[in-house]
């Protein structure tokens, strides 16, 4: 009677302490029927990759407001690959300057969302990307 659920890790790398956005997203994905593993503040890329491995997630959502996305995102991608989790899709929410977006997409980030993004759009994009 059990069925496959979309599992999402919501993580907040870096040193800023603003987790409102991450919590809003966690709640929205929960209400969309997904299982959200919430890890809390100040996660290192190593901690995030480790949690993604143990939890066998389909998606990692990163909340980054510190401006460090060009350092954090490639590192997390690299660690996920190293662990054999190439199929995991990464979404980023936060403050990302327009000029960085193409480079992040090129690296393999699936979706990037700034202030005012609709949670319905994000849910739809996650479902599309995972296709359970």
């Amino acid at each position: 009677m059990t069925e496959k659920k979309i599992r999402v890790l919501v993580a907040k790398p870096g040193l800023d302490g603003h987790d409102r956005g991450a919590k809003v997203i966690a709640r929205a994905l929960r209400d969309a029927g997904m299982e959200v593993i919430y890890t809390g503040l100040r996660q290192t890329p190593e901690m995030i990759a480790e949690a993604a491995l143990q939890e066998d997630v389909d998606v990692v959502g990163l909340s980054i407001l510190s401006g460090a996305h060009m350092a954090l995102a490639p590192r997390i991608l690299e660690l996920l690959k190293k662990n054999g989790q190439d199929q995991v899709k990464i979404f980023i929410g936060g403050i990302i300057p327009d000029e960085d977006m193409p480079r992040l997409k090129e690296m393999g980030i699936t979706g990037i969302y700034g202030p005012g993004a609709s949670t319905d759009d994000i849910i739809e994009d996650v479902r599309q990307a995972v296709q359970v």
């Binding site: 209400d31 299982e35 959200v36 890890t39 901690m47 939890e55 066998d56």
Partner: protein, 343 residues
């Protein structure tokens, strides 16, 4: 290479994959589960339950740290942390890892979050399968953290060898403590947040409850040869020293998990309980009860599946309509369905 071999070789990705397959009851995982089963039966299964906000996750974090640091017991530690699924959307926010960040970076610790997916007993239906996989993979200590439990989420006691019930000051009076349910399943009672006001009351309530459950034999001090206790000039009877080794009386321990206070004593009590189970034969008895109830559950699922395969959904719904219209009673409907008499 099969998942089984990779898991036995210590591959954590393979382990994570099979955990998912078991959780989803995916047919492709069943052969691996069966192959791994002979490797199970070595781990000490520790259940941790209690009301929401009593500090279960923080306590589990500290226990795992203790087991990893203590050279006597440097076993691999697995944690299965269960949180509730929404009854409306089926979604869940699993937040127990937030309190367990001290454990990251240690390859000897594996934390897996699980949603209840509709189960009401405090753990998920497939928690037992996940525990078996960890056991086979060589995790010597497996800690099962339940959802924030109210009074009757007691399934963890059937799964674990040692059950910790975590309380905190200010949660209820003695009447709460003598109700049936969660306190009865405790092998060890932990009062966490013991630096909070009201801890004396909580401790007194729990101890008096225990005394009701395990009435101590009372003897006259003259016979026992102990100290004389006098009340209004009369000799009072007093508790005989408990010498019955077959009897386990749950200890009441105080901890402050966020500070790591009381953890050594708690781990010692857990070890003592494990020794007690082995010496009294209860270890084997609990294993038998656990596997028996797991078989029972699987049998129920299989019978339900078989039943639904043989009954057309339309006929089934017609029967529900009949009950709804008060033409037949639910009992009669079931009898009729089981007899294959669907007209």
């Amino acid at each position: 290479m099969s998942l089984t071999q990779s898991i036995l070789d210590g591959n954590r990705l393979a382990l994570a994959r099979l955990l998912s397959q078991a959780e989803n009851d995916a047919p492709e995982g069943r052969a691996d589960l069966a192959e791994l089963f002979p490797h199970t039966g070595k781990a000490h299964l520790i259940g941790v339950t209690g009301a929401p906000g009593t500090g279960k996750s923080s306590l589990v974090n500290q226990l795992a740290l203790f087991y990893r640091k203590n050279p006597d017991s440097r076993k691999k530690v697995a944690i299965v942390a269960v949180d509730p699924s929404s009854p409306f959307t089926g979604g869940a926010v699993l937040g127990d890892r937030v309190r367990m960040r001290d454990l990251s970076g240690d390859e000897g610790v594996f934390i897996r979050s699980m949603a209840t997916r509709g189960s009401l007993g405090g753990i998920a239906q497939k928690t037992a399968s996940l525990v078996q996989i960890f056991d086979a993979a060589g995790y010597g200590i497996i800690i099962i953290e339940t959802v924030g439990a109210g009074q009757s989420e007691v399934d963890v006691a059937r799964l674990a060898h040692t059950t910790l019930v975590v309380e905190a000051p200010g949660l209820g009076d003695e009447i709460q403590a003598i109700k049936a349910g969660i306190l009865e399943i405790a092998d060890i009672l932990v009062i966490n947040k013991a630096d909070r006001p009201g801890v004396e009351n909580t401790e007194r309530a729990l101890r008096s409850t225990l005394e009701l459950a395990h009435p101590t034999k009372r003897v006259s001090p003259a016979l026992a040869g102990g100290t004389r206790v006098r009340h209004h000039g009369k000799d009072m009877s007093m508790a005989a020293p408990t010498t019955d080794p077959m009897m386990w009386i749950p200890p009441v321990l105080k901890t402050v998990a966020t500070e790591g206070i009381g953890i050594d004593e708690l781990a010692a009590a857990i070890a003592k309980h494990a020794d007690h189970l082995r010496q009294s034969g209860d270890w084997a008895a609990r294993d038998r009860a656990r596997l028996g109830s797991e078989m029972e559950t699987l049998l129920q699922e299989a019978l339900m599946d078989r039943f639904h395969e043989n009954v057309q959904p339309q006929k089934y719904h017609e029967m529900v309509e009949q009950v709804l219209n008060r033409n037949i009673s639910p009992h009669e409907a079931v009898t009729s369905l089981l007899n294959g008499n669907l007209e």
